[in-house]
């Protein structure tokens, strides 16, 4: 029996569509429900980040990095300050490193919570989304306690932090983690093993290893394809080499390695690992140390360039900073992980049903702020 082909229809998903996670437009060619070609159009959220950076001083870039990936602003700050400190050869003290890692890992939990919740929402399960948001709020409370802001922090500075931890932060974070750990199980029970979700996501949108690497896909998406690659382990920046944690990879428990379910489940496992790191960091954080100790008086990096990568919740975030010796960056390029993750959509999304395409899009965990910059 041959395959019946009907007339192809061009369908615009977005820019305003509930499943595009922002303002993304996917132009898909569909034959009935089967999608044959996906062409993403982005730029609706383009805020000229790189052009802006060429007009402001180095410290003024930090608020803009916040706004790139608004779901993981701490990680974006972290990447930038790591790059700047490498360029200027600044060594920050222990306490700062510990605080940065606690913040980055809490941010990873928050971001992954949102991603898993939204993935459920894309597949029609509304409840886990709100449960995830409820716990994310508590993390945001911790951030608010620390730096006064809930979403866009401007917390990490080149050579230090804007504030020290408030009194009682360590205790309240421990309290949060104790509360939070059973909630991960809850999230896993209602979503990950639900038969309908497994049917919807297992074996769907399989991303093989070589495709993932060739497309520059990084972070949880790459690990779900079975590549054990995590910058925190493989190219440790800051003090990540001091902590014990596993790098979860996709094993194809419910289907093939690298399918939507793996991408989703790797994130749940990573939440657990991040909880581990936060616990270790909280236990061993040095009591003293001035967070403003190594703040440079004026940020005037030497002439030269640096490319520094850090592991954000969405993958390898690279900052390429070209300095001409003035207090203003000559050129600043952000290599955003979601940008490359979205580019793979056409490759792995063709040939699936419309509902699957949106599930694949959800499992890639893109943030349009970071793609468009």
């Amino acid at each position: 029996m041959g395959v019946v082909h009907g007339e192809e229809m061009v369908l615009n998903i977005g820019p305003q569509h509930p499943a595009t996670h922002g303002v993304l437009r996917l132009q898909v060619r569909t034959d009935g429900e089967v999608v044959s070609k996906i062409t993403p159009y982005m730029g609706y959220l383009h805020r000229c980040f790189e052009k802006h950076c060429e007009n402001v001083t180095y410290e003024q870039v930090i608020p803009f990095t916040d706004r790139c990936d608004y779901l993981a602003s701490m990680s974006m700050n972290f990447g930038y300050v790591v790059a700047m400190e490498r360029l200027m050869d600044i060594k920050v003290n222990e306490r700062v490193e510990y605080i940065r890692i606690i913040m980055a890992e809490l941010q990873r939990i928050a971001s992954h919570l949102l991603c898993t919740g939204v993935f459920g929402l894309d597949l029609g399960a509304f409840t886990p989304f709100l449960w995830a948001l409820r716990d994310r709020e508590r993390i945001l409370d911790l951030f608010e306690l620390t730096c006064g802001a809930r979403l866009l922090y401007n917390y990490m500075w080149v050579g230090g932090l804007s504030h020290d931890l408030p009194v009682g932060f360590v205790e309240s974070t421990f309290k949060f983690l104790d509360y939070f750990e059973p909630k991960i199980d809850e999230l896993e029970n209602i979503l990950a093993h639900n038969k309908i979700l497994v049917e919807r996501s297992a074996d769907i949108g399989v991303m093989p290893k070589d495709i993932a690497i060739s497309y520059g896909v990084t972070g949880p998406n790459l690990r779900a394809s079975g590549v054990k690659w995590d910058l925190r382990k493989d190219d440790p920046y800051s003090i990540y080499d001091r902590f014990e944690f596993d790098v979860p990879i996709g094993q194809g428990l419910k289907g093939t390695v690298g399918d939507c379910w793996d991408r989703f489940y790797v994130r749940i496992l990573e939440i657990r690992e991040s909880v581990k790191i936060v616990r270790q960091a909280l236990a061993s954080i040095p009591k003293d140390g001035d967070v403003h100790q190594s703040l440079p008086k004026k940020i005037r990096p030497p002439k030269g360039s640096v490319y520094a990568r850090t592991e954000t919740p969405r993958g390898d975030l690279g900052y390429y900073i070209e300095s001409d010796g003035s207090p203003i960056p000559y050129r600043l390029k952000m290599r955003s992980p979601a940008f490359t993750a979205l580019s793979v959509l056409d490759e792995i999304g063709g040939g699936w049903l419309l509902s699957d395409v949106l599930a694949i899009l959800g499992s890639l965990d893109i943030v349009l702020g970071e793609i468009d910059r």
């Binding site: 499943a19 429900e33 709100l130 049917e199 919807r200 049903l353």
Partner: protein, 357 residues
Amino acid sequence: MTVDYIFEGLNQMFSGFTGNEIFLIIAILLPCVGCFIFIALYGLVAIYAELKVSSFIHDKTGPMGQGVGLHAGKWGLLQPVADAIKLILKEDIIPSSADRPLYILAPFIIFIGAFVSFVAIPFGEKVIVADMNIGIFYILGIGSLAVIAIILAGWSSNNKWALYGGMRSAAQIVSYEIPAGISLVVVIMLTSSLSMQEIIGYQSGGMFGWILFDNPFMPIAFVIYFISALAETNRTPFDLPESESELVAGFVTEYSGMRYAFFFLSEYANMFVVSAVAVTAFLGGWQSPFPNFLNTSGWSVFWMMSKISLLIFVMIWIRFTVPRLRVDQLMHLCWKVFIPIGLFNVFGVAIWIIVRG
């Protein structure tokens, strides 16, 4: 039945008059108006219940308010009223490229489909608008009217999402008619009647007289019917026609205001109808669950309503637990799971009846 009562009552009251035809029309219109008011009120209650149940599942409070003012009343009781007022006052937009007559017609057809089904629902021992001898068959037949309306809505909106929603819905409702029908056939085999009242009458004598517990095949039939009913009313996990994260809003994408409200209302009305059929066929209808406990004609309405409410609650509960199926999985579930098992069930019940005599 109710029509007959009113007709006779009117005739007795105004025995001097000879305008029997007018009395008949009044006797027919009155229950219809009653049904309409009932649907509207029930819709408000159901919306409120859905808001509250979902909120509690989500660890939220749902609609709340401290006073009348701008708030939604005590515990947010006025929220559905506010919703209704909003929908009525909203601008009614008809897309310029829409097929105007069909676009306008669709919400009415879907509402008529839901509304007319109420005629055959036995609310109580004596409260039924028309006790037809083919009641259950009638409801199944009228229920399919929704397909036409949804296709009309999807097609006439001239919107690709709406079209997808309409097409999905047509396939879905037409398919799920079959397992629903098959599981009701089992009931009809037992009771050897299509009349709603007679089916209920068969199930007298407390909880264990219910068809659900009549023989081991019946729970399967009930589950199949209930899930198919979910699919027929487009509830999650079968809400593909209007799956909000895929098709924006499916076949209602272009509708707004009162027309949208009609779709909304008829979805809730359909939920009520399918629950009523499930209660009638499997859960003893208006019979009390205990043989001699409040088993009077007056309490029968209470029992019927509480059973229907329970089923509607379960529908809401399921909606906020599970993700949505995919189109092909939906069809797989229907044709490869429910229909074989349903047919097997029919066979089993037939043997059961023969063996038991």
